[in-house]
Symmetry: C2
Subunit: 324 residues, 2 copies
């Protein structure tokens, strides 16, 4: 199958919405943003052997490739609108591509994302997605607005994806039920789109937890020129991970909690005056929003353990170019 | 150097324009499109060993990586506004990246393109650029508007990039002056931005010649459900390439002219009633716009040689997934 037949078969589609003036199949797509909305854009590249293992189920990979991008839009408080997908593929394997696009399209449909552009070429398996969303003018949530005294929150639970990865790599063992929950988090992360939108006007800063809590919160602290103090005991964890925070597996469990990547929860800050509103958001969305600490005027991140003592060495977040 | 230091050093910059509300360094960028403008988006992925050779000069590669995308915007009649750059890099080679970004940034500055987002990861050298442009609502030029009787035009000259590549691969030999001209076309293509904008309201259809004239014009014919007849003798060629269309090198020269990729000229169609206006555009831009044939109601592409006979076998355009 040649490149054009490949595109026609797997990527071409009639746009579902009229704001897509020109969809896939021209030199560029043409879309119309609504008046008084700003455009939010983000790009992510996933490389086989680095972000996902060779042989990863293509449908789940299609889901995850889009999900990690939508998570960035969620962290900005944006509504997802459009995606462009570029892929280097080792072969034109039609079955693989069909499955990949099933996963991609199902998630896109759930959030009203129109695939408007793409590029395919031969090469080592690499996927690059650009997503465009919108947000009312001036209402995007950035990393730069956290203020001393603000509460620090995180959605859902932390560390499950890292736990699943550790199990798969044979580093640790958990029971089947725990692995199922954690594996779902690793393979099929759910971008917190509704939460991001609900946090407009509430969160003073937000980021998605893709590289681990301490590292990602660190970006908020740096951008906002503040510090934070977190309570280890307050960090939300699944039962499987919570069970491991006591005893011999503690170090690994804490690494998952504090520095585990790939969770795609939102970490955000907000004035203590907004606790009731945040409680209402949690209830509306049936999503745990846990207060895990507070922003401080003095720089740096302090995590207090169960005894109230500051932990001396925090596990590090993931860095693609750090020395191994 | 870690990923964040790498981004800070090479990609972070203060936006030059106020329409960039949030630039690089957050989960997403936020930009404001002007009222009554539509957004035009395009993505391209370049893979080492496929789109460029290992060891390619990084500054020229930085230029070309952006240029091929801007060429897509030109073909839509769009004004370039923003770019997002994702790259898988085998190492964090600061010198290479500096040079790459010099080439990228110089071209971006020339066309008022703001780099608003990026992603870096380790992997086989792969570059993915998404560009966003704008166009007055309803004025984008697509591939679908060509009508029987329309003239077919191409800008500049065709086949030089393919000629340079053939020389470098040792397939053919040209004199030093010819190679310099052709090599510049291959290494530092100039996107026809001003032409695309000038063709709004004039061109009935347009495409950029990235994969070769016959293949790319074929996309216009397919999208517009028409055919075309071209005159081989009318195709604009550099002196070096023109000289080869006679004698033993003729087949190779015709392949460059008709199917050579990487020229990034625009091929467009327009009503014969607009010839004077098109002549004025050519004069304004000091750019040759050559009438090479006409659109026909009957489907298919016919190229008539110097004797007026239809050529029986047309060289093929480039296809990333065609069997070698």
């Amino acid at each position: 199958m040649n490149e054009f037949a490949l595109i026609a078969r797997h990527f071409a589609r009639t746009p579902r919405r009229a704001d897509v003036r020109v969809g896939i199949g021209d030199d560029g797509a043409v879309v119309a943003f609504e008046t008084d909305m700003e455009c939010v854009a983000s790009v992510d590249m996933l490389v086989e052997g680095r972000h996902f293992a060779a042989g990863t189920d293509p449908q789940r990979l299609g889901h995850k490739t889009l999900a990690v991008n939508l998570s960035d839009l969620a962290a900005m408080g944006a509504r997802p609108r459009y995606a462009l997908l570029a892929g280097a593929l080792p072969t034109s394997d039609s079955g693989w591509l069909s499955a990949f696009m099933r996963g991609f399209d199902a998630l896109a449909a759930r959030y009203g994302v129109e695939l408007i552009g793409g590029d395919t070429t031969r090469g080592p398996l690499t996927l690059c997605v650009t997503v465009l969303g919108d947000v009312p003018a001036g209402r995007a949530i950035t990393r730069a607005g956290a203020k001393p005294g603000d509460d620090v929150y995180v959605s859902g639970t932390l560390g499950d994806a890292a736990l699943a990865l550790a199990v798969r790599l044979g580093h640790i063992d958990v029971d089947a039920a725990g692995l199922r929950v954690a594996g779902e988090r690793l393979d099929a992360p759910q971008p917190r789109i509704a939460l991001g939108i609900a946090l407009r006007g509430i969160a003073s800063a937000a980021i998605d937890v893709s590289d681990g809590l301490t590292g990602d919160l660190g970006h908020i602290l740096e951008a906002s020129q503040v510090g934070a103090a977190l309570d280890l005991a307050a960090l939300p964890a699944s039962d499987a991970l919570r069970a491991r925070t006591h005893g011999s597996g503690r170090d690994g469990a804490l690494a998952c909690l504090l520095a585990g990547g790939d969770d795609y929860e939102l970490c955000f800050t907000a004035s203590p005056a907004l606790r009731t509103r945040i409680g209402a958001v949690a209830q509306d969305l049936s999503l745990a929003l846990t207060r895990i600490g507070a922003i401080t005027a003095s720089p740096g991140l302090v995590v207090r353990d169960e005894t109230g003592a500051a932990m001396s060495a925090l596990p590090r977040g993931f860095d693609h170019f750090a020395a191994a």
